[in-house]
Amino acid sequence: MTTPKAIAGWALWLPLGIFALFVGLVLVGLLRPASHEIESAMIGKPLPPFDLPAAVADRPGLALAHMATGKPRLLNVFASWCIPCAVEAPQLAKLAAAGVQIDGVAIRDRREDLTAFLARNGNPYARIGADDVSELQMAIGSSGVPETFVVDGKGLIRYQHIGEIRAEHLPVIEGKLREAGQ
């Protein structure tokens, strides 16, 4: 007769060890910023009609009418609960300081959280629309936050940047803005 012998002490810790590896792995996956190049289906298409109410007290809301003004601009999809959005704030500030018009779309956010977020990270936006049900976000083919769209003077989407804008992305974005202005 064989029998399952008394299990070795270390073997009992094995499941916990495997689980710890799993947690470590997904933690890396979660914290790593999602930033991969995807050619958007919306490039070259006009923005859909939209009219979003103001998300914070000191900036007006955002509608399609504000976008096609003859000058290229950035449409930044963000949220106060999104960690990479804070990471890209300095880059947006740099762009705003260089005279780029940036409009924000706040996804599923709360006014007080957003105000605090802007106070902490700076406010580069001319207008901020509140997209409480991801209505505009879905319509322009954005699947996450942050994402940034280059929109030309006629309201056509010219470029989509997925993930946070890091310092090394600035030349590309500036280039796309120049292209859109021509």
């Binding site: 916990l16 792995l25 933690l27 790593r32």
Partner: protein
């Protein structure tokens, strides 16, 4: 008002879970013994409140109350009623509410019904259940409140993803959730037993119906999900090794292993630590699966709305629940006394072998699912698919099925292979004949070949435990096992046949043109526009005739939904006893031709028929066990009553 009412009910349920935890845990430390009486009522009321809260959300969706954020984001007034109803759980918040509701109700059920276990173990179990629930309540109330209002009501809702606007949505997620969450009871039982160190047949008998019930729902949920993906996605495949599918398969594998080891524990008082461990792992896999698909760490065909805050929250829950349980296991399992001994050649031996194989398959699926993450951490983007899963899985599935054919014929404790040699020779002979027959049929792959031969042998072997028995007096549980094993053979046959003999054709057809696919002649009769409640479509009537027989008309459609704007391909299926014809209408080409995708899949429906048989087998076994338990309770009461009368 309804939304606020639902939210209040949810908060109260959370408060009761806290009470249940404290009242259950304190008496175990020797203090607050008078609190113990509160545990069962708290569990019952908590379940009720959850149900009330979920009902409130259902009402909001049915009324399309657009002042509620969740409804505005996921529903639309023009949507058919059944999808308004099913839309309640077709989104993150609603499905998490369904999760806690199922969990609350099953906790209430355990609290009210289960009286066999020692009271201390029950207290620990219910406290464990409350602890796990509390985490999910916190998750709902803090980061996924389904009842949140909008400052300004929307005029119209966003609509529901058209792929989800299908009758499958009404059944598939709730079934799967009943399975996922049913395993939480097994988890809590395992925790309870670890805390009080009382592991034995009584514990196994209390746990078994829950494992069986959850397993039945998981089986049905996976079967339904597979069929739904098969006809709704229009890709012609029935299993894609997508992370979401794997997320449902992993708990099933663990639950299947648990189901068998808990039977060994109940019948023979062996495999104690192993059963406990599987009880922990099974529900852990449910939670891991939920985490993987909800957090967005893996990309999949299921595009759930994801945000990192939620991912982090669920990960923290996982770390606490699973990490805590495994820690407890590591500390306590060594002190759980050893169970009964058994020989290698015995029914227990065969079951242990299958348990190990199932665990290995689980490991392979888990590794394959996580591999893209691992690779990405090392700087590469990869996707793992059938080329990994199929051969690696087969490596363990094949030996498992061989032992599965033989195992039920063996006796408990110890046996000799010689005793069942006639059966073995019969099975081996059948495999041989099938193999020779198939080999003559050249040109099928190795795996489908093995699959077909094994399916034949397994079908016969699965019926052998009934040999020489009086069928009417055979216990229901035995019938259940036979039917479930037979279902595996049927499903395996369908899978192998689908992969070996499917014929696929992609054509650009003119109206009036006939195409041959397998034994079918298919003519494109015309192309016409049709309209539904919230979509318009191009429909192509196709006349299909089998080997020159009379024609049947199929109606594949290319649908355009307008809210949200999205196109879907509605495939059309024609089922015969020996297979399924599957047609999809594609794009219009420039010269007035239409793209058609045509498949003839011999015996493919057996895949899902097998799944249903497996679940049905589980149901028979469950009924058998419950009836036997009820009889035992009745008999015990009778004896007690008699003793009482004699004593007077």
């Amino acid at each position: 008002m309804t939304a606020e009412f639902g939210l209040v009910a949810l908060w109260l349920a959370a408060a009761l879970a806290a009470l249940q935890l404290i009242a259950g845990a304190l008496p175990l430390t020797g203090r607050g013994g008078e609190l113990a009486g509160l545990v069962r009522p708290a569990a019952a009321v908590q379940g009720l409140l959850c149900a009330v809260s979920f009902a409130a959300l259902v009402v909001l969706f049915c009324q399309t109350d657009l002042s509620v954020k969740l409804v505005a984001a996921n529903s639309h007034s023009a949507k058919p009623f059944i999808y308004k109803l099913a839309g309640t759980w077709g989104n993150h918040e609603g499905s998490m509410l369904l999760w806690v509701t199922v969990m609350g109700l099953s906790g209430a059920f355990v609290a009210l019904v289960e009286r066999r276990l020692p009271e201390r173990t029950m207290l620990a179990t219910l406290a464990g259940q409350a602890f796990v629930s509390l985490g999910f309540y916190a998750f709902l109330l803090m980061s996924s409140n389904p009842f949140e209002r909008l400052a300004q009501p929307k005029v119209e809702g966003n609509g529901l993803n058209p792929l989800l606007q299908d009758i499958g949505l009404a059944f598939h997620p709730p079934t799967l959730y009943l399975g996922y969450v049913g395993l939480s009871v097994a988890f809590s039982f395992a925790i309870g037993a670890l805390i009080t160190r009382e592991v034995g047949p009584a514990f196994a008998r209390a746990m078994r119906p829950w494992v069986l019930g959850a397993w039945i729902f998981l089986t049905l949920g996976i079967t339904a999900g597979s069929y739904w993906a098969y006809y709704e996605l229009g890709w012609g495949g029935w299993w894609f090794w997508d992370p979401v599918e794997n997320a449902s398969l992993m708990p099933w594998l663990a639950a299947t292993a648990l189901l068998h080891s808990v039977s060994v524990l109940a019948a023979r008082n062996a495999l104690r630590a192993w059963t406990i461990m599987l009880g922990v792992v099974a529900f852990s896999m449910s939670m891991v699966g939920t985490f993987l698909v909800r957090s967005g760490v893996l990309t999949s065909v299921h595009a759930f709305a994801v945000d990192p805050e939620r991912g982090t929250f669920i990960l923290a829950l996982l770390a606490i629940n699973i990490g805590g349980a495994l820690m407890l296991f590591a500390l306590r399992a060594g002190t759980v006394t050893e169970g009964e001994r058994f020989a290698v050649t015995s029914r227990e031996g065969a079951l242990v072998f299958n348990n190990v194989m199932l665990s290995a398959i689980l490991g392979i699926v888990l590794f394959g699912t996580l591999y893209p993450l691992l690779a990405e951490a090392l700087g590469a983007r990869v996707s793992v698919g059938p080329p990994y899963f199929n051969p690696m899985g087969a490596l363990f599935v094949v030996p498992m099925l061989v032992v599965m054919a033989v195992g039920p014929l063996l006796r408990w404790r110890r046996d000799r292979i010689g005793r069942i040699r006639h059966e073995l020779i019969a099975i081996a002979g059948l495999v041989g004949i099938a193999a020779i027959g198939l080999a003559a049929w050249s040109g099928i792959g190795l795996l489908p070949f093995i699959g077909l031969a094994l399916a034949g042998a397994l079908a016969v072997a699965s019926l052998m435990p009934l040999r020489g028995r009086r069928l009417l007096r055979t216990p229901l549980a035995t019938w259940g096992m036979v039917l479930a094993h037979f279902g595996i053979a049927i499903a395996l046959f369908g899978m192998a046949s689908e992969s070996a003999f499917s014929v696929e054709k992609l054509v650009a057809a003119k109206v009036g043109e006939t195409t041959q696919v397998g034994p079918w002649a298919i003519r494109l009769d015309g192309v016409q526009p049709v309209a539904g409640p919230n979509w318009t479509a191009i429909e192509a009537p196709l006349s299909a005739s089998y080997r020159g027989g009379s024609a049947v008309v199929l109606h594949p459609q290319a649908r355009s939904f307008w809210q949200p704007p999205q196109q879907t391909a509605e495939s059309a299926l024609l089922t015969r006893w020996n297979g399924q014809l599957y047609v999809v209408l594609g794009e219009e080409a420039d010269d007035g031709r239409w793209q058609l995708r045509l498949w003839w899949k011999p015996f493919a429906p057996l895949i899902w028929l097998g799944g249903v048989l497996i679940a049905l087998g589980g149901l028979l076994a469950l009924l058998g066990r419950v009836i036997a338990d009820l009889r035992r309770i009745a008999a015990r009461e009778k004896i007690a009553y008699r003793r009482e009368r004699q004593g007077r």
